[in-house]
Amino acid sequence: MATGTVPAAPLSPAVFAILLSLAEEEKHGYQMMKDALTPEGGGVRLGPGTLYGSLERMMRDNLVEESGLSDDERRRYYRLTNLGHRILATELERLDAAVASARSLGLIPNGGRA
C-alpha cells in the first residue's frame, strides 16, 4: 500500500530513468544504472546510493516493487507496479507534447532525434 505522495510531473531525472529502465522488464540495480547511462535511458549517471534511495522512495510511493526474483540475497530485482506504468506513460506524454511543440517551432530538425 502506498504511504507516500505520488510524484507529480515532471519527474526527477533519476525517477524517470528508473521507470524507463523497468518498463521493459524487471531488473536489478546495476542493470538500471547501465540503462540510465545510455542516451535512450535518459543519460543519467546514477550511482548506487542515488539508485537505491530513489528505489526506496518509489517503493513507498508504490511505483515499483521487488519482484521476489533474486540471483542471490545480494542482487534484488525490481519491477514497475500498475501505478508506476501509469506515471511513466503520463510523463512520456508530457515529454512527447513538449518535443512536438519544439519541433513545430523548428527547434528540432524534422526527423531528427528529440
Partner: protein, 273 residues
C-alpha cells in the same frame, strides 16, 4: 589472487567502509545490494575506472547527505510529534510567563506596604488638626539614594507644605492628574518617576491619600523602588532560565522520542515467487 583482483577487493572494501556513513536503517536495507551494484560496475568495464570512481564519489557525497536529511525529515516532521512539541512548548512558555509575572506583581504590591499605613496615619493626624510641619517627621531623605519610606504633605492645589524627603534639593510633586484622581477616589497607588532638573530614573512606590476636613490636601507616602526592581529583575532572569531549561528538555525529549519511534525504512520484501 592477481594484482588486479587484489586492487578490486581493496576498492570494494573502501566502498563498503563508505557505506557506514549512510543512516543505519538505510544501510541495513540497501548496503548489500549497493555493494553488489558497485561490484557489478567494477567487473563490467563498460565505464572507465576513473569515470566510475568519480561517479561513485559524487554519488556517495550527494546520496549520504540526502539520506540523512530524509531520515531527519521522516523522524522529526511527523505531525503528531510536532504537535506534541508545540503543545509542550506553549505550556512551558505559559508557565515561564506566570513564573515571571506573578512574583513580580507580588513584589510590586508588597512595596506599598509601609506607605499605606504611613499615609493613613498621617491623614488621620492632619484631619484631627495637626499642622503639616509638626505631623511630618523631621529630617530630609535623598529620594535617589535612601531606601527608607518618607511622607510629603501637599495643599489642595498640589503645592508641597511639608516634606520628609527631597530630590535634587527640591520637593517633587506628582502630575496634577494624579491629584484629580485622588480627589475623586480618595487614594491612588502608583509607580512614580519624579523629574526634577537632571534627576531622572528614580522610581518611587507611592501611595497618595486625600486629606479631608477644614484644610484639605494630600499626603504622599513613598519609597525608592531600587531594591524591589532589582528583585523583579532577578525573578525575570530566573523565569527566563527556567524557560530555556524547559525548552531544552522538550527539544531533547522530542528528539529522543522521535528517534526511538521513527518509522522503519526497511522495505517490505515480497514472498518468493
Amino acid at each position: 589472487m592477481t594484482p588486479s583482483s587484489g586492487s578490486t577487493h581493496r576498492v570494494e572494501a573502501c566502498y563498503a567502509a563508505a557505506l557506514l556513513l549512510y543512516p543505519p536503517p538505510f544501510r541495513e536495507a540497501h548496503a548489500q545490494a549497493m555493494r553488489q551494484a558497485f561490484r557489478d560496475a567494477l567487473r563490467d568495464h563498460s565505464l572507465p575506472r576513473r569515470t566510475l570512481f568519480l561517479l561513485v564519489l559524487r554519488d556517495l557525497f550527494t546520496s549520504i547527505t540526502k539520506e540523512h536529511l530524509a531520515m531527519l525529515r521522516d523522524t522529526f516532521s511527523r505531525p503528531a510529534l510536532l504537535f506534541n512539541a508545540l503543545v509542550l512548548s506553549a505550556l512551558a512558555t505559559g508557565l515561564a510567563l506566570a513564573l515571571n509575572t506573578i512574583p513580580q506583581q507580588v513584589l510590586r504590591l508588597g512595596a506599598n506596604d509601609p506607605q499605606i499605613a504611613m499615609a493613613g496615619d498621617l491623614v488621620a493626624r492632619l484631619e484631627q488638626g495637626a499642622a503639616p510641619a509638626e505631623a511630618v517627621p523631621t529630617g530630609s531623605l535623598d529620594m535617589a539614594r535612601s531606601l527608607s519610606p518618607f511622607v510629603i504633605v501637599y495643599d489642595d492645589q498640589g503645592h508641597p507644605l511639608a516634606s520628609q524627603a527631597a530630590l535634587a534639593g527640591q520637593t517633587p510633586a506628582p502630575p496634577a492628574g494624579v491629584f484629580d484622581y485622588v480627589r475623586q477616589h480618595g487614594e491612588e497607588r502608583l509607580s512614580w518617576q519624579p523629574v526634577l532638573g537632571s534627576a531622572h530614573g528614580v522610581r518611587i512606590a507611592a501611595v497618595i491619600q486625600r486629606v479631608g476636613g477644614p484644610h484639605p490636601g494630600f499626603v504622599l507616602a513613598g519609597r525608592n523602588m531600587r531594591e524591589v526592581e532589582s528583585r523583579e529583575a532577578l525573578v525575570g532572569q530566573l523565569a527566563g532560565m527556567t524557560w530555556i531549561g524547559m525548552m531544552a528538555v522538550i527539544l531533547v525529549g522530542t528528539a529522543v522520542f522521535g528517534w526511538y519511534t521513527r518509522p522503519s525504512t526497511q522495505p517490505t520484501r515480497p514472498a518468493a515467487a
